[in-house]
Structures are given as structure tokens and as C-alpha cells.
């Protein structure tokens, strides 16, 4: 098992190291192939490890690799907690990463920083797998910060454009606000349980005080909100679209942004002990899902629509954790990784084919001629995102909403609000998904397009078909009984594989409620599709909304950026200014400079004696000698 874990973790690291050290010495083609092969190695390790875990019969294995440091009981060991959750996640991460690597091989074909790109991409896969596998929280935190660094480096990948660099910096700083809570949670946990291994902590939850559990849960939620771009820390993700599209697909859609949710799922047996934590998680997820879906409705930039929809979909996953359905949440995480990375990469192809055109109002049906096949691939992704009935998103989102409805019927009113928000969001999701589809791939462009276009290699699209296929059929991973029975596939396969993550058994909602939730979701998705067709359909004259009022507010994400600029960044800057001018310049520096000034003045005085010519030294010497002799003559030698 250790071999497989090492294979998963260290082949991408090896790739990154080789590329960093020798990337310039080997040919461009070889370095790209090397990067892809290393991720393929990670995938092979993940699959082999998964089957080995299934054969061994045990559900959880803790594998100690080596100890990083050990101080006063604080044991930072590189150890992996390998269960079916980690196995599936590691496989998904490696699989999606592999496709994105191969896609990048074509996408970045003309970029001069080719080696740097693949080096960061491989390094990212390593750090992501650390998050997926780590047992020790310090080890996990290393991965957590590592993906943050790679995200920063890849958002600002085209560093000659200052706005892209700023976007990278923003992402780095905002997620850092969440990381503070991660460190605080580690401190509290170490104080309470004297260990930082997830397995140990989950084993010791029974002995923890309820207040501690709540506190740690909320701190981890805050950390997850930073990484997974949830309210109130979501502002970095829309700007993160400044990076290359495959990077957005890998980091800002499929893997890194779901790391926060994955962490919550991993720690679920502890979180579930505190009702308050669970309620806050669900409420936060619901709020974020609705908020981001509204913002996505008004975007003009194809990648920004997808970015806001990612925030919204991750909100669903957070709802799933909050209502006590980690399996459903994880199901949605997997499916979302497939269709959202697909959408991002198709968008990347379109943007490249149209010569860096991001505005969906300038695309229209001509895209289908310039980049054939993209419309079909995008439709698969958009339908899965919207949750149109047979597509994968329908089942994954449906599972979460079914559980939300069950909680809403049996529980306190807050669950009703969560379910309602999730359902309204489902309608909005269908609306904005097909809005993008119709605007970007059908009809006459509303705005005069830039005529320049570019031929793109077809292989760039062909590598995406596995993802498109998964967007259509991945629902089969976790079908409800009545659908599965008709298709003749095992129902709730993923639930069986994952086992009982939840601790307390989460029963499946009764048939009546489940059917009702499915009916509502399915019809809402169709209604959303119909509205989008009616407003943005191919034969309509589509004009972008005027840049004022509600539409403008939605487009800017309801001014959250402005809010932070005004009420956080500006006071901070003012305080920094104040400290700089008064304390630093006026206090510390003046004191130091004053002391230095005295020394300088004294030195200037003294310098006058030495400022003369060499011969005058001799005269002074002579004078001194004469004075000494005179004294000797006067006093005499005793």
C-alpha cells in the first residue's frame, strides 16, 4: 500500500522537480510528455491503491511515510489516511488532472513559458494529492498552502500583464484569511486531543467538550470558505479567471476549490456532533449558492459565468455537508469536477479560437464553424450543470436537494430556508447555463465581433470527450433505486463504496419525498431551459443589459469587492499609513536617525583633525614629541 501512496504523491513531485531542474535542457515536446506521464503515474497509483484497498477488506488504513519533525508531543508526520473516500478522490484528481495536462499540451502550444507551466501544474497535482491523502493536519496544511501557492503562480502565469498579477495576489491574500482559521483550529485541536492526526482526532471526538467541537467546526468552516470560495471569502475566484483556461479548469473548478468541501467531508464525524455548526454550514452554503447564481446570471465574460457557477455549485456541496449528507456532497463534488472542467476547457478553446474574445455577446453561431464540436461538448457540460434530467448533475444535485427536503419536512424552519434557496438556485442555474450556451454558440452575435479568428488543433477538443461522456452518464455512480432498477445498474454504488462516512446513519429519504424533490428539480431545470430559450434563443435579438441598476450590481457580484475595498482594505491602508508615518517614520526611524545624527555630527567634528595633509600629521607628531620632552625636562624622570 505504501508503494501506491508514494506513487500517487511523488510521481507528480518528481515531474515538477525534473522540469524545474532540467526542463530547459530537454526538448519542449519531451518536457510536456514527461509532465503528462507523471500525472498518469499518479493515476495508476490511485487506481492500484484503490483496488488494493478494496481487496484488503479494511475500510481505513493509516500509512506512515516518514516523520517531518516531532517537538514536545507535536508530531508532524507525513502519514496518509487512506479510506475509500480518499481513494475515489485521489483517482478523480489524477484522472481530471491527466486530461487537463494533455489538453494543456495543445492549449499552451505557442507559449514560451511552457516548462514553467507544466512544472507548476505537476507541483499542483502533488500538493492536491497531499490534501487528499494526508492524515496529519500539518501535512495536510502543507498541501493546503502548496495548492494556494500554485494557484497564485498560475493565475498570474502571464505575469507581464499587471492585472493578472494582481488577480493572483488577490487570490493568495484572500485565501490566506481563511488559512488563519485553519491554524487556529489546529491549535485548538492539539490542545484538546494532543494529536493532529485526523484518525486520532475522529477517534477522540467523544471525549471533546461540545463547545470545542463547535469552535473547531466553525474554524474549519471558515478555512474551507477561504479555499472553496464561499461567502464571505468568495471574491477571489471570479478574478482568478485571469489564468490560462486549463488552469481554471484544474484548480478553480475541479480540484482546489473543492478541497475545502473535501476537508469538511473528511472531518464530518466531528462536525456532525455540533448542531450549530451543521446549521451554519448549511446556511452558508445555501446563501452562497443563491448569491453566486444571481451573480452568474449577469456576467458577460464566459469564464466569469463559469467562475460564479463554480462558487454556486460548491455552495451545494457545502449544503450537502450541512444537512448531514456527505456522500451526496461528495457525489456532487465528483460530478461537478467532470462537467465544470469540461466547460472551462471548452470555453478556453472558444476563447483561443476567437483570439482572446471573452464576451459571450460577441460569439454566436460563428463559433460552431470556427471550432466545430465545441457546441456539443459545451452542451453536455451545461446540461449537467443545469441538472437537466438524464444528465449527471440532475442526480448529484438531486441527492442533496432530496436530503434537504427531508430535513425541511422533519426539521426546524432553517432547513426549509436551505431547501428553498437550493431549489431557487437550481432554477437560476439552468437559466444561466443555457443563457451562456445560447449566447455563445447560437444566433447572431449581439455585439459586432472582432473578426480575427485562429485555427485550433482538434486534438485539444478530442481529449475532452471522456469528460463530456462522464457529464452525461456519471449520474450512474449513485443512482436512486427506482431509476437504477430500470437501467439494471447497482443503485447507490458510490454510497456503498464510501461506506458510512457520516457516523450516525443518514437514511435515504422516503420514496414519496424523493420523487417529489426529483420532480421539482427536473421541472425547474426544464423551466430554466425554456426561459433561457425564450430570452436568449437563436432567433432572438439579444442585447446586453445596460450597465446600471440591478444587472450592473449582479455583474459586479453585488459589490462585495467594493465593500471589502471600502470597509476592510481602506481602513487597513489608512491604519498602515498612520503607523508608517507616525510610528515608523516619526517614532522608530526618528529615534534611530537621531542617534545616528549625533554620531555623524561627532564624527564630523573629529574628522577635522584628520582632514589635513599627511605632512601635517608629522608636524602634529613633532609637536607632541616636543611637549612630552618639555614635560620630561620640567618634571624630570623619577
Amino acid at each position: 500500500m505504501t508503494v501506491f501512496i508514494c506513487l500517487i504523491l511523488f510521481t507528480p513531485l518528481l515531474g515538477a522537480t525534473l522540469l524545474a531542474l532540467a526542463g530547459r535542457a530537454i526538448s519542449r515536446r519531451l518536457s510536456g510528455v514527461l509532465a503528462c506521464l507523471c500525472v498518469a503515474g499518479s493515476l495508476a497509483g490511485a487506481i492500484a491503491g484503490w483496488s488494493a484497498l478494496a481487496e484488503s477488506g479494511s475500510t481505513t488504513q493509516t500509512i506512515h511515510l516518514f516523520t517531518w519533525f516531532s517537538v514536545a508531543g507535536l508530531n508532524a508526520s507525513f502519514s496518509a489516511l487512506y479510506n475509500h473516500l480518499a481513494a475515489v478522490m485521489a483517482t478523480m484528481v489524477a484522472f481530471v488532472s491527466l486530461i487537463i495536462h494533455v489538453h494543456s499540451y495543445f492549449f499552451m502550444r505557442d507559449d514560451e513559458s511552457w516548462v514553467r507551466y507544466f512544472c507548476y501544474l505537476n507541483l499542483f497535482v502533488f500538493f492536491m494529492q497531499v490534501i487528499v491523502l494526508a492524515d496529519n493536519l500539518i501535512f495536510l496544511f502543507m498541501g493546503w498552502e502548496g495548492v494556494g501557492f500554485c494557484s497564485f503562480a498560475l493565475i498570474g502565469f502571464w505575469y507581464t500583464d499587471p492585472s493578472r498579477v494582481m488577480a493572483g495576489r488577490k487570490a493568495f491574500l484572500v485565501t490566506r484569511v481563511g488559512d488563519v482559521a485553519f491554524i487556529a483550529a489546529m491549535a485548538v485541536l492539539f490542545y484538546a486531543t494532543n494529536s493532529l492526526g485526523i484518525a486520532d482526532i475522529l477517534g477522540a471526538t467523544g471525549t471533546l467538550a461540545p463547545a470545542t467541537v463547535t469552535l473547531v467546526g466553525l474554524l474549519f468552516l471558515w478555512a474551507a470558505a477561504g479555499k472553496s470560495a464561499q461567502l464571505p471569502l468568495l471574491v477571489w475566484l471570479p478574478d482568478a479567471m485571469a489564468g490560462p483556461s486549463p488552469v481554471s479548469a484544474l484548480i478553480h473548478a475541479a480540484t482546489m476549490v473543492t478541497a475545502g468541501v473535501y476537508l469538511l467531508i473528511r472531518l464530518f464525524p466531528m462536525l456532525v456532533l455540533s448542531t450549530l455548526t451543521m446549521e451554519v454550514i448549511a446556511a452558508l452554503g445555501a446563501l452562497t449558492a443563491l448569491f453566486a447564481a444571481c451573480a452568474a446570471l449577469a456576467q458577460h465574460d464566459i469564464k466569469r459565468v463559469l467562475a460564479w457557477s463554480t462558487i454556486s455549485q460548491v455552495g451545494y456541496m457545502v449544503i450537502g455537508v450541512g444537512i448531514g449528507d456527505p456522500n451526496g456532497s461528495f457525489f456532487h463534488l465528483l460530478v461537478h469536477a467532470f462537467f465544470k472542467s469540461l466547460l472551462f476547457m471548452v470555453a478556453g478553446i472558444v476563447i483561443q479560437a476567437l483570439h482572446e474574445e471573452h464576451d459571450i455577446f460577441k460569439m454566436g453561431a460563428r463559433v460552431r464553424k470556427i471550432a466545430p464540436g465545441t457546441a456539443l461538448a459545451f452542451f453536455c457540460g451545461a446540461a449537467a450543470l443545469a441538472g437537466l434530467p438524464p444528465f449527471a448533475g440532475f442526480f448529484s444535485k438531486g441527492t442533496i436537494l432530496e436530503h434537504a427536503l427531508t430535513s425541511a419536512v422533519h426539521g426546524p424552519p432553517i432547513w426549509m430556508a436551505v431547501w428553498a434557496a437550493g431549489t431557487v438556485t437550481a432554477l437560476l442555474t439552468a437559466l444561466y447555463s443555457f443563457r451562456v450556451f445560447f449566447l455563445a454558440f447560437t444566433g447572431k452575435p449581439a455585439l459586432e465581433p472582432d473578426t480575427k479568428t485562429e485555427k485550433t488543433p482538434p486534438a485539444m477538443l478530442h481529449v475532452l470527450w471522456p469528460l463530456a461522456l462522464l457529464s452525461v452518464v456519471a449520474g450512474a455512480l449513485n443512482m436512486p433505486e427506482h431509476v437504477a432498477m430500470q437501467l439494471g445498474i447497482p443503485p447507490h454504488w458510490l454510497d456503498h463504496v464510501l461506506g458510512n462516512l457520516a457516523g450516525p446513519v443518514m437514511e435515504h429519504p422516503d420514496q414519496h419525498l424523493a420523487s417529489m424533490a426529483e420532480l421539482i428539480d427536473g421541472s425547474l431545470a426544464l423551466v430554466g431551459f425554456a426561459i433561457a430559450l425564450f430570452i436568449y434563443g437563436p432567433w432572438r435579438i439579444r442585447k446586453p443589459a445596460a450597465d446600471k441598476g440591478l444587472a450592473a450590481a449582479m455583474q459586479r457580484g453585488f459589490g462585495l469587492d467594493y465593500l471589502y475595498m471600502t470597509y476592510v482594505a481602506r481602513p487597513y491602508r489608512a491604519a498602515a499609513d498612520l503607523i508608517w508615518k507616525n510610528v515608523e517614520d516619526g517614532g522608530v526611524d526618528s529615534a534611530a536617525l537621531g542617534l545616528g545624527g549625533i554620531a555623524v555630527r561627532a564624527g564630523n567634528r573629529a574628522r577635522r583633525w584628520g582632514e589635513d595633509k599627511l605632512t601635517s600629521y608629522l608636524l602634529w607628531l613633532l609637536l607632541g614629541l616636543v611637549i612630552m620632552l618639555v614635560i620630561v625636562a620640567a618634571v624630570g624622570i623619577r
Binding site: 584628520g610 582632514e611 595633509k613 605632512t615
Partner: protein, 101 residues
């Protein structure tokens, strides 16, 4: 001792003063080194006078030391002078102001 002690000491003092004035007044490094030599030899004369006056060999030994020190001093000193000459083409000590703050 045929010559009186005082005469020898006055001679040594005069010699010393000549050396001293050479060192202070001349504006050439070579002349300054020369002056230092003269001063050293003036001291040597005074030592020899003392050795004869008190019939003590130590004074003459001291002169040998002075000669050795003078030889070493002139070797090092002339090397420095040559070096300065190569660098600046100038032997005026007042022109050497690179250390001036």
C-alpha cells in the same frame, strides 16, 4: 674617550634635527624616508657615545638592531614608494587623499 661626551651628543642632536626637518619640510616620499634614516643614525651615534662613556657593550648591540630595523624599514618603505609611484605617478604625500572622509 678622547672626544667629550657632550660634543658627541650635540652632534647627534644636530643630526637628528636635520633628519627631522627633512621629514617635516620635504615634499617627496623618498626624501622623507631619507630623513627617517638620518634620524635613526643620529640615535645610533648617541648609543655608541653612551656605550663608550659607560664602557658597556649593550649600546653597540643596540646600534646593530637599529641598522637591521633601518634596512627592513627602507626595504618595505621603498616598495611602498614604488607602488605609490606606479599608481599615481606622484610622490607628494599630500596628494594621497583617498582615505579622506
Amino acid at each position: 674617550m678622547i672626544v667629550p661626551m657632550e660634543h658627541v651628543l650635540i652632534f647627534a642632536a644636530v643630526l637628528f634635527l636635520i633628519g627631522l626637518v627633512t621629514v617635516v619640510a620635504r615634499r617627496s616620499l623618498i626624501m622623507i624616508l631619507l630623513g627617517v634614516e638620518v634620524m635613526l643614525n643620529a640615535a645610533g651615534v648617541a648609543f655608541v657615545a653612551g656605550a663608550l662613556r659607560w664602557w658597556d657593550i649593550t649600546g653597540q648591540g643596540m646600534v646593530l638592531f637599529i641598522m637591521a630595523a633601518a634596512a627592513a624599514e627602507i626595504a618595505v618603505g621603498l616598495t611602498l614608494v614604488f607602488n605609490i609611484w606606479w599608481r599615481t605617478k606622484n610622490l607628494n604625500p599630500d596628494a594621497l587623499t583617498r582615505l579622506k572622509g
